[in-house]
Every structure is written in C-alpha cells, then in structure tokens.
C-alpha cells in the first residue's frame, strides 16, 4: 500500500439523500479494501472520522441541493475538487424530494412539522449540475455498485467510464427476460429508461419504474401510445414518471403533461 500523500485523494460528500448511493461503495465487500489501498480516502464521513484537507483529486457527490447552506457548500467542494462526479438520482436529477418543485413547499412543511418557523429549506430540490460544473453523472436510485467501481477505475486511469446510455430494454434482451409489456401487458418504463440496473424489475416479473431516469434520446410518444393501449390512465402515467427522476427531462415534462 502506498504511503499517504502519493495516492489520489478521494472525497465522498452528502447532500439531501438517503445515503444509499454512498453505502453502495461500502457494499463492494470484495473490493472495498483494495479501493482503500488504491486511493487515499480523504473525506468519507459514513466510513471514518479522519478528515484530510483538500484539494481532492476526485469527489463523489450524493444528494440534491435543498438549502441555501448546501448551495454554498457545493461551490466550495467544487473549488476543492479536480474532478467531481455525481452519484445517483438525487445528485443527478434532484431525487424524489424534487416533488416539492411542483407544489408549494410551505404546504409540505406544514404537513410534516408543527413549527414551520424552525425549518429552513429552499422551495426546490435541484441537481448538482444546476449549481456547479459536473465531470460525470452516474445514474440510478440507487447507483449500481459495479458501475460505481467502473467509474472510479476509469477516472483514476484517466479514461471515460463504460456506462452505456441505451435503454433498459437492451439489458432485458441481454439477460434473456421475457418482455413484461408484450407478453403480460404490464406497463413498463424500460423503453425510455437509462440502462445500468441490469433490468432487475422485469426479471422479477414487474415493469421498470424508471429509477435510473431517462435514457439518451428516449421516444416518449411511442411509449405513451403503448401505455394508453394498455389502459393506463393519465394520473397513473403522471405518477409513473413522477418519482425518483421527476425533475429530469423529459420525465418532468411527461409527468406535468399528464397532470402530475
């Protein structure tokens, strides 16, 4: 193992999120100690109380921006980071907490809290890229840990990560899944959803619910036509698109257009 100071410095930062994407790094049980040998873990509060000052070679950012304090914090993190990668739907699209963007956040506060005056929050939940330059966005709610390792390895070697931008449909074919929409009439967002999960939902006899967000250039009209043929009503379509990537285009537009 190299001595401290000679290895690339890795930092992991958290904003509004569930911790599941950074946990995915700790879930690399077979690779974690090797990763910890290849990089200097300079800031990763979920794993260690030791903190090494920046600058950092690589920052992984989980979570969305929902407070004025966090909007300032991400700018300082960007300045301290040579490369910055967002991990997961919150950091990449605003997460499910971006549902507030389409409501009055004061109503949300009053539903949950007895003393709204104690709560400081922004009216919106936004992706990191809306605040600072992002070098790479890894999709998923949560991210896939194998993709996370690929992204880490790629950035440490100075190459582009191999994370295909095609749809979940391709992964279904690769996995040998029967098409749940064609064979069973089950509504499925697979045709418009970014690959990366390994087509888990169809493998478990359910439709994809879009947790990796939109693929590159999705044909939303074609899928909407299919959903209508299957008898899916407008509010249900609005809710289908209106979840973990509700603030990512074109899921946002489709959710709004169907009444979300």
């Amino acid at each position: 193992m190299a001595e401290t100071g000679t290895r690339p410095k890795l930092a992991v930062w958290k904003f509004a999120s569930c911790d599941g994407c950074q946990l995915s790094l700790l879930d690399c049980e077979d690779e974690l100690l090797a990763v910890a040998g290849a990089v200097e873990i300079a800031y990763f509060l979920e794993a260690t109380r030791a903190e090494v000052a920046g600058p950092y070679d690589l920052s992984l950012v989980e979570g969305s921006i929902t407070t004025a304090h966090d909007a300032a914090r991400i700018k300082a993190i960007r300045q301290a980071s040579k490369r910055l990668i967002t991990i997961g739907a919150c950091a990449t699209a605003g997460g499910i907490q971006a549902l507030r963007n389409f409501a009055d956040v004061r109503d949300f506060i009053s539903i949950v809290y007895a003393r709204p005056d104690y709560i400081e929050t922004l009216a919106t939940s936004t992706a990191i890229a809306e605040h600072v330059k992002v070098d790479f966005e890894l999709r998923g709610c949560p991210v896939n840990k194998h993709q996370l390792l690929e992204v880490l390895a790629a950035f440490l070697r100075g190459r582009q990560p191999a994370t295909p931008g095609h749809s979940v449909c391709v992964e279904c074919k690769q996995r040998g899944n029967v098409c749940v929409m064609v064979a069973h009439g089950t509504p499925c967002l697979g045709p418009v959803t970014h690959a990366g999960c390994g087509a888990i939902c169809p493998a478990y006899d359910r439709g994809c619910y879009g947790c990796f967000g939109p693929m590159e250039s999705p044909n939303m009209a074609a899928l909407n036509h299919w959903l209508a043929r299957l008898g899916v009503d407008q509010p249900t379509i609005a809710r289908l698109y209106g979840t973990f990537n509700v603030n990512a285009e074109p899921f946002r537009a489709e959710s709004q257009r169907h009444g979300g």
Partner: protein, 429 residues
Amino acid sequence: MADRTIKVAQLARVEGEGALKITIRDGAVKQAELNIFEPPRFFEAFLRGRAFTEPPDICARICGICPVAYQMSAVHALEAALGVTVDGPLRALRRLIYCGEWIESHGLHVYMLHAPDFLGYQGAIELARDHADIVQRGLDMKKAGNAIVALVGGREVHPVNIKVGGFYRAPRRRELQGLVDQLERGRDAALATVRWVAGFDFPDCERDYEFVALRHPAEYPFNEGRLVSSRGLDLAIADYPQHFQELHVAHSTALHSQRAGGGHYFLGPMARYSLNFDRLPALAQDAAKAAGLGPVCRNPYRSIVVRAVELVFAFDEALRLIADYVEPDQPAVPCEPRAGTGHGATEAPRGMLYHRYRLAADGTIEDAVIIPPTSQNQPTIEDDLKSFIGGWLDMSDEALRWRCEQTVRNYDPCISCATHYLRLDIDRA
C-alpha cells in the same frame, strides 16, 4: 476547565447529517443537544395523493441502509387498512429478507461504524491496516446479508420485489438453497464476532431505560407482535398514537418522540433483546451468556455485543426459514382498495419503525405518518450524554469529543431516516 463547550461539527460513522453540542458549567453538564440538520425531504407530504401500491418503492428511499424496514412497515400498515393478511411462505419470505437487512446493517455497524471506537481507530479502513482479516470477516458477513436481500428483493439497496400483499415474484426453493453455504459460514463468523466484541473495554454505565419493542408469542420479533415495554406497556400496534407523541424542537429537523404524558424510551437491539431474550434460539442465548450478557442489558456501550448476538440469531433464522421454505402458489395476496386507516410497526435494525396511512375508497393515500426509530431514540441519546459525561470531564476536549461520538453511535443512529444530522459542540465556556 470548569466551563467548556465541546462541539462535534460533523458526526462521522453515522448515516446522515448531525452535530452535537455539550455545554459544561461549573464542572457539570448543563446541556446536551443532538442537532439533526439533515435537510427535510417531506415524504409524508408527497405521499398524499399517491396510490396505495406506491409506498413500498417510495418509502424505501427514506433510508439506503434500512430500505427493507421501510418497505415492511409500509406494507403491514397498508394491509391492515385493506383488511388483508399475508401468511405462510410469503410471511416467511418477509422474515427472510428482514434477516438479510439486519445482517447487512448490523455487520456494517459492528465492524465499520462502532468497533473502531473501542479499539482507538478513526474508522474501519484504518482498522483494516492492522487487522485486515477481522474487517474482511465483517465484510463477508455483510455480503451474506446483502446476498439474501439481493436474491429475495432483486438488489441490495432499494429492493424492487416487495409489494402490498407480498412479492412480485417468489424465489424458487433451489435459488434459496444456493445461499446456505454462505449463511452457514456467516453464522460461524457471527459467533466469532460475539467472542471478539465481548473482549472490548466497556465504560461502566447503566441507566434504567424504558425499553420498547415488539413481542411475538413465539418468535424473536421482526414484523409482528404487540408493542411492549419494560414498564408494563402492552398494546396493539394500532394503539401506538394514544401512547406516544411527537414534539418538534428547534435544534432538530427530526421530530422527537416521547411517551404520552412525558418520559423518554429506548428502541433498538438492546430493547428487543432485553424484552425478548426468551425468544432467541439456544445458539444465540448461549453465545450471549458466554459473552457475559444477562437476559437484560442496560449498558448502551454493550449494545455492540447485543448486535453481534442478533447477527447470530439472524443467520440462524435465515437458515431455518430456507430449510422450511415451500414455494407459494401465488407470489402475492390480491389487494383491493377500500377506505380505511392502517397502522404498521416492524423492527428496523435500529429499532421499531411505525407507519400509518389513511386511504380513500379508491386507495388514494389521504394521510401518511412515519415515525423512524432514531427520532424516537433522540431524547434518550441526549439523556445518556447528560448522565454519563459528567464522569469524564477530566478528559481532554478531543478525548471527550470522541467519547461523546461513541455514545451517540451506541444507537446506530440513522439520521437520514430521522429525516433529518449530527455535529458535536462541547461548551465549557
């Protein structure tokens, strides 16, 4: 030195964002505040207007460490509202995936988040430099827990296979059989873990807590049972709101809970264990006794031993469930919408998690209430700090700060869950 402020600006090795502030005046602890400033995400607000089928996927996102707990409390509450009972192999599969989550979460906490405090390491990465074999043993157990969740649930974090009424697809018997070797090794590793942590040095601190946990007539509790306490509480889950209340305090975006009429209480492994020791299999009871635990444990620093005993239980229970598994005829019980209110409480790794939903006749959610274990434990954590640290005021600020952090980590707090973070401030003025 009589007046000091000790601050932990960012508490490490917990899930989520929090801080601590301890104020010391005239050589005594005046105030201990666990500040939780995890930004609120408003799940209970945006659940309104969603379909009754959606909470298992949506509520999982409250917590990446214990998504199964959120899914389980949600489905039980919703099934109670719909008048549906799930039993037989589907009930067994729910216990099995919960075993997987306890193993994953307890393995993470025992080895990576808590043990470094007892051994003087900043974290598990630093611990692994000197004891790679021990850390790898913890990681291997965690991996086994994740293997259960991934097989039954589809993936480790935010499983996709849980639905109201059961599952989308029930695993085949031979798929589960494929886990047996890994789980048998895990059970041995869990027994070795109990022996390892039993040898740590524990501060001699006990308090007379009111323990609260589920209790089932025959089983160590996961999904079902009555809500009981060490001071005689014995309720149906639906009676929870009459006996507990939530308070909103200025220093926390998590709502504090207390017993109706006042009184803080203790949730989590130590409460479950102390109220259900007689429900543990002999293997886990014997491991506990050999580790020097009685049937009741009141020293929160020993919670790491209790967690290790629960690891033994969870591996043993998973193996029993797999051995007895019969493939169900249908992966789920059909659920039709109807108006009503349902309550659900299940045992998340860090303690009892309560959900309540009110549904309209078409199954639309009109109201949702979610009370995570960490927000229920938060007042008790503050009480521990106030009670215990008076004896340690001769420590340096850094040593005292670390001890306070350890005291918080006894509870494996999940601040993301509590919706809300941790920093420590020690004010000696």
